[in-house]
């Protein structure tokens, strides 16, 4: 789920960035530092959408660096337990399949794949229903439900299930 929130960060800036472009430098450094990172509380920072305020700079003794407290608006992405998510399958094996939704790594174990889908090995391993009508393989798009999440420094791990109504393949690359 996406959220638009305000976060704050103390930005350290080298004196060479002072002057007319101070603000631009501050913002571009902020974007570089923050976008694409994860935090346990907020999830994945997708994009900074605006600057709320830049506080008074504090000169660091000895270095000349200045620390600015910056409040900024950003869109964050964080999956929640119970949430329905669409994801792209990255790997299929006998244990289940792995899928990705942006920075989120999801594992759907074969315990949580409907019982009528069976694993087929081969150079394109997949899970297929007995009548062959539904197939999950690499690059398939699936709709799944999150039953567990954990946020790491750089990735978000999730446990997903497709063992429920309206879950499973939404777009099969083989037939597309």
């Amino acid at each position: 789920m996406f959220f638009h929130i305000v976060l704050e960060r103390n930005m350290q800036l080298h004196p060479r960035h002072f002057g007319r472009n101070l603000r631009e430098n501050l913002v571009s450094k902020l974007m570089k530092d923050v976008e694409g990172t994860c935090s346990g509380r907020h999830g994945f920072v997708v994009a900074i959408t605006g600057i709320e305020s830049v506080g008074k700079g504090l000169i660091r003794d000895g270095t000349g660096f200045v620390t600015f407290p910056v409040k900024y608006q950003c869109v964050v992405f964080r999956p929640f337990k119970g949430e329905i998510l669409e994801a792209v399958v990255t790997m299929v094996n006998k244990m289940g399949f792995f899928a990705e939704a942006g920075p989120v790594q999801i594992f759907v174990s074969n315990h949580l794949i409907p019982d009528d889908m069976e694993f087929q090995s081969g150079d394109m391993p997949n899970y297929t229903t007995s009548d062959g009508s539904v197939k999950i393989q690499k690059d398939s798009e699936v709709r799944l439900k999150i039953i567990g999440t954990r946020v790491d420094a750089t990735v978000i791990f999730c446990i997903g299930t497709i063992k429920d109504d309206f879950l499973g393949v939404i777009n099969d690359p083989a037939t597309a």
Partner: protein
């Protein structure tokens, strides 16, 4: 100062989006204080670390998503400390409420078969990181418990046997290829620098310069045909003592189209014991696994699954490493024979084993054991030969303990210490011994001990005339793989 107004990243679309979210979220802003408290206490240490220490939240925004519902949960024992969003369960529809109560009853009975990112792969609950075996080679953060491994092996076995396949675990160094550090290359090998193959399309080449690893790698002759053919009979794994980066790079060279290994590349970093290779990280039943490796002692627990390979030494550094003071294949500008080399011979043996396993055995499929088949097929190689050794082992040595004696017996030969007319081969290092002279006189085969070793590696009785016993003690200057 108003810096926000002219922020360069402000766009009208994100404004709309922000407004929408703000509207959605402001409905749940009552119980901020409690939620904040709760949040402060509940962050797990792991989470604390991961968090950007500079980013602090504006409280109005931060906890709205978890707000009042979260506070109701304060008295409940919290199974998952981090799950700030468990409120979603309660705000969800009736239908999903039913599912969630199902989930919470199944939580008590879930045996937690394995974990991904520290969460149970079946119920999603947090589990202790230490339990089970890591399967980092399949995916970062994946661990499986022993029962689950057994279960997966059983179901997979059925699937595989239906496709008439077994498992094959392949070593890299000296088995499928030979690598050398660039700075270990000799002057006589310098010509190789100009002969390396393109990395654009590796499927045609066999000699590669890997700048990142500071290495040069030579694939063993016949390896591409070998993999292609073996993949029809086996689900294949790579298992190397090299590190992960090296293992994956080699897998790219051997399997550029990713047809053979599909993530089944196991490196030193993935094993469970130092300096040992084990089948515990291989998701196949031991009764259906064959191993190709040049290093016997790496597989102490799985000798019965092992097909020992003749070492492929292409580079000089590799010869020196194993104590051969001779010119390497690279220095002699030659190579192993493509169609009669070690891999071609082993492929024939694998075919035979595969055929025996699926087409000749009478008992039910799941009662069959490839280790038994391996033994039987090997016993055919020297069937009918009766061997006597002369001056091969020290006199006080217990003869039937010697590795050549054992190999000969594994190959189906009978070994003896008594000369009699039924002896077919005299294995000797010298022509001058009594037994050697007896062999010449009675028209028996007189062969060098290497005949047994070669027969063992090639799975085929080698022509005796290629292994003569010379007048002088012959410690040759021939490299081990030369034709």
């Amino acid at each position: 100062m108003s810096l926000a107004a002219d922020s360069p990243v402000h766009s009208s679309s994100s404004d709309d989006f922000a407004a929408f979210l703000d509207g959605e979220l402001s409905s749940a802003s009552s119980a901020r204080e409690e939620a904040l408290d709760e949040d402060g206490q509940s962050s797990s240490p792991a989470n604390e670390e991961a968090e950007d220490e500079n980013a602090s939240c504006a409280p109005e925004e931060e906890d709205e998503d978890e707000g009042d519902l979260e506070s109701k949960r304060l008295k409940r024992p919290r199974m998952e400390q981090l799950e700030v969003a468990e409120c979603f369960e309660e705000s969800a529809t009736d239908e999903s409420l039913v599912h969630n109560s199902e989930a919470s009853t199944s939580k008590e009975i879930c045996t937690h078969p394995g974990s991904f990112g520290g969460m149970c792969i079946r119920c999603g609950q947090r589990v202790a990181e230490e339990s089970g075996v890591t399967f980092g080679y399949i995916h970062r953060g994946l661990r499986l418990g022993n029962d689950e491994i057994v279960r997966l092996r059983n179901t997979d076995m059925k699937n595989l046997l239906r496709h008439k396949k077994l498992y094959l675990v392949l070593d890299l160094d000296h088995t499928l290829l030979n690598s050398t550090q660039l700075n270990h290359m000799t002057a006589e090998e310098e010509y190789l620098w100009s002969q390396t193959d393109s990395l654009q399309d590796v499927s045609k080449g066999s000699l590669f310069m890997l700048n990142l690893l500071q290495m040069m790698t030579k694939l063993r002759p016949f390896v591409r045909t070998f993999l292609q053919e073996a993949s029809q009979m086996f689900e294949m794994y790579i298992y190397t003592m090299g590190d992960r980066q090296y293992a994956l790079r080699m897998a790219d060279l051997l399997d550029p189209r990713k047809e053979y290994f599909n993530g089944r590349v196991i490196s030193r970093d993935d094993g469970t014991q130092r300096h040992q290779k084990g089948l515990d990280v291989v998701l196949g039943q031991e009764s259906a696994v064959l191993i190709l490796d040049d290093t016997e002692h790496a597989w102490a627990k799985h000798k019965d699954n092992l097909i020992l390979m003749e070492r492929y030494h292409f580079f000089a550094s590799s010869c020196h490493q194993f104590g051969f003071n001779c010119k390497s294949l690279s220095e002699l500008k030659t190579d192993e024979n493509e169609s009669e080399g070690a891999l071609a011979c082993v492929l024939k043996a694998l075919r035979k084993i595969h055929h025996t396993f699926f087409d000749e055995l009478e008992d039910s499929l799941d009662g069959r054991d490839v280790r038994q088949v391996l033994k039987t097929v090997r016993k055919d190689v020297l069937r009918g030969c009766k061997i006597i050794f002369s001056r091969v082992f020290p006199t006080q040595f217990q003869a039937d303990n010697h590795h050549l004696w054992k190999i000969a017996e594994h190959l189906g030969a009978t070994c003896t210490t008594e000369l009699d007319p039924s002896v077919t081969h005299v294995v000797s290092l010298e022509v001058g011994t009594d037994k050697s002279r007896w062999a010449v006189k009675h028209n028996k085969f007189l062969v060098h001990p290497r005949w047994i070793e070669a027969t063992n590696f090639f799975w085929q009785r080698q022509p005796e005339e290629n292994f003569p016993v010379s007048q002088q003690k012959n410690e040759g200057s021939v490299p081990p793989n030369a034709e």
